[in-house]
């Protein structure tokens, strides 16, 4: 089992969700986050004064999948979230030790 953490542009959420559903992904967590990467924020103008927005709003997706799905899911996220412009985000893959479905007590791959 792997945990896929994907940071994407907020407006791409619906597209990514639809694509992942098409792959049979059964669940996903979304949170609103702010941060910066190589893009390091951007500048805005408020009442004539230019200022830097250091932390840009993004969405963080967290998806747990079986090992054999990892490549397909990450590729799909990358493909659908990509605009080619700076700030498209990043994807990380981490190992997951255990999973448990609270309602039934099923464990690990059965719980995903």
């Amino acid at each position: 089992m792997k945990l896929i953490i994907a940071v994407i542009k907020p407006f791409k959420l619906e597209e990514v969700r639809t694509a992942l559903s098409g792959l049979g992904v059964q669940g996903l967590m979304v949170s609103e986050v702010k941060g910066f990467g190589r893009q390091s924020g951007h500048t805005e103008i408020y009442r004539g004064a230019e200022y830097t927005v250091n932390f840009v709003p993004k969405l963080k997706l967290e998806i747990v999948v079986n090992d054999d799905q990892v490549e397909q899911v990450t590729d799909t996220i990358a493909k659908t979230a990509q605009t080619g412009k700076i700030g498209d985000g990043k994807i990380f893959v981490l190992g997951v030790e255990q999973a448990l479905r609270v309602r039934t007590g099923e464990r690990d791959e059965d719980a995903i």
Binding site: Y46, R47, A49, E50
Partner: protein, 452 residues
């Protein structure tokens, strides 16, 4: 907005004899009683429209401060309006309109300091015999109308000093401004004082007498108070602090725009003849045109200069347009009024960043809108009114400016020395809502401006 003077001999006989002063006001085809009634109605309608501007200022300021200071900004606005009502009653009204009873000066040589005494209304249920001035309007309506202008002046100050000034020193200053500073300088023009009699100064509804005065007082306060913490850094960087609610700021601007019809239209001071009511109508239309000009100028200019339209500048542009037309809303054509307002909008877009460069922190743009556009509007009288002279406009602008700025500075310095006018750094960072009031504007919503 100069009141017609009461004649010294105030008997009804003298009034009904239709002396020259009376004939000027009441045309032959409208009975004197009707003129009195219609003029009074104009003051009452104009007055409650200007009263609603207090709401406009409150919403504009609530929208342009950060959410942690919104409840305090609302508190200041309703408190200052109420304090103005008391200050103007106890001292201000007679200081502004001494009706010839100057403490220093006379009507002929020029009045400098008006009369001292509380405002007194006409008795209950008067007949024509008992009216203070049958050719003008009821004293109650005049007092009510004039009070609203005085309160508007104080509203201007609160926005500029928002988010860091303590409540009580601000309210004490408000009392001094509305009871003494505003009425004294207003008497020089509208009370028939020396700016009126010696300079022929023209300021129809108060680009200088109201708006610049509020602006000068705000400027003095902003300099002494200093900028909000974190607004400017030592390397010359400016850190904007976006307001909590642009819809509220927009609502406030529209309310001010509406109220301005009473502000300028009511300042015709007469509605008892075809000529007067047609003039009031011209003023309404011109006032609207100037506001529109201010908005369009600010929208185009911010798009060109900054690459994006800045809504807050568009809102300031509307108000600057309104301030610009206030000194002379009657004589311009619709086209001229639009252009006069548009220049006001241009002034705002250039002077808001200028104040930032000078590290004068004006939270809502009150100084560009009311002071700079007010000066422009007072000079713009020259464009359309042949009675205005350049020196007759310029010198009073300077005299009023020096008087208000110096006296305000002295008052602010005294308040700062005696009790301190600025909240602690900790209170400022926590927000004045919780630190000074112990309540929040939006306790059930997210943290707004206090997030990362």
């Amino acid at each position: 907005m100069q009141k017609k003077h009461l004649t010294a001999a105030l008997g009804l006989a003298a009034l009904l004899a239709a002396g020259p002063a009376l004939a000027q006001e009441g045309p032959t085809d409208v009975p004197a009683h009707s003129v009195f009634v219609l003029n009074t109605l104009l003051f009452l309608i104009g007055g409650f429209l200007v009263m609603f501007m207090a709401c406009g200022f409150a919403m504009l300021e609530a929208g342009l401060v950060r959410s942690k200071n919104v409840a305090m900004q609302c508190t200041k606005n309703i408190a200052l309006f109420s304090i103005a009502a008391i200050g103007y009653y106890i001292i201000g009204y007679n200081l502004m309109y001494p009706l010839g009873n100057w403490s220093i000066g006379t009507d002929d040589t020029g009045g400098y300091l008006g009369a001292f005494g509380v405002a007194i209304l006409e008795a209950v249920g008067i007949g024509a015999d008992d009216a203070d001035d049958l050719s003008y309007a009821s004293t109650g309506s005049d007092y009510f109308f004039q009070l609203m202008f005085c309160a508007a002046t104080a509203s201007i100050v609160s926005g500029a000093l928002a988010e860091r000034i303590k409540l009580w020193p601000f309210l004490i200053f408000t009392f001094i401004l509305t009871a003494i500073i505003y009425p004294i300088q207003a008497s020089w023009k509208w009370g028939g004082g020396f700016l009126d009699s010696q300079f022929g100064f023209l300021d129809f509804a108060g680009s200088t007498v109201v708006h610049s005065v509020g602006g000068w007082a705000a400027l003095a306060g902003a300099i002494i108070l200093g900028a909000r913490k974190g607004k400017y850094d030592s390397s010359g960087g400016i850190h904007p602090m976006p307001g909590s609610s642009l819809p509220l700021a927009t609502l406030g601007t529209f309310i001010l725009w509406l109220g301005w019809f009473g502000f300028n239209g009511g300042s015709q001071l007469a509605m008892g003849s075809i000529g007067d009511v047609a003039d009031v109508s011209r003023i309404f239309a011109n006032t609207n045109a100037a506001a529109a000009g201010g908005v369009v100028a600010a929208v185009i200019l911010t798009q060109v200069m900054f690459g994006k339209v800045d809504l807050t500048m568009a809102l300031n542009g509307a108000l600057a347009g309104l301030v610009s037309i206030t000194a002379e809303p009657l004589t311009p054509s619709l086209g001229s009024a639009t252009l006069i307002g548009a220049v006001g909008g241009v002034i705002v877009v250039f002077t808001v960043p200028l104040l930032d460069k000078l590290k004068i922190d004006d939270v809502v743009g009150a100084i560009p809108v009311h002071l700079f556009a007010g000066i422009w509007g007072t000079l713009a009288v020259l464009l359309t009114n042949g009675d205005a002279t350049f020196m007759g406009q310029l010198i009073p602008i300077i005299i009023v400016g020096v008087f208000v700025f110096v006296v305000s500075t002295v008052v602010w310095v005294i308040l700062n020395t005696v009790m301190g006018i600025r909240v602690s750094e900790e209170a400022e960072i926590a927000g004045l809502d919780t630190s000074e009031l112990g309540m929040e504007a939006y306790p059930e919503f997210g943290k707004g401006s206090q997030t990362i």
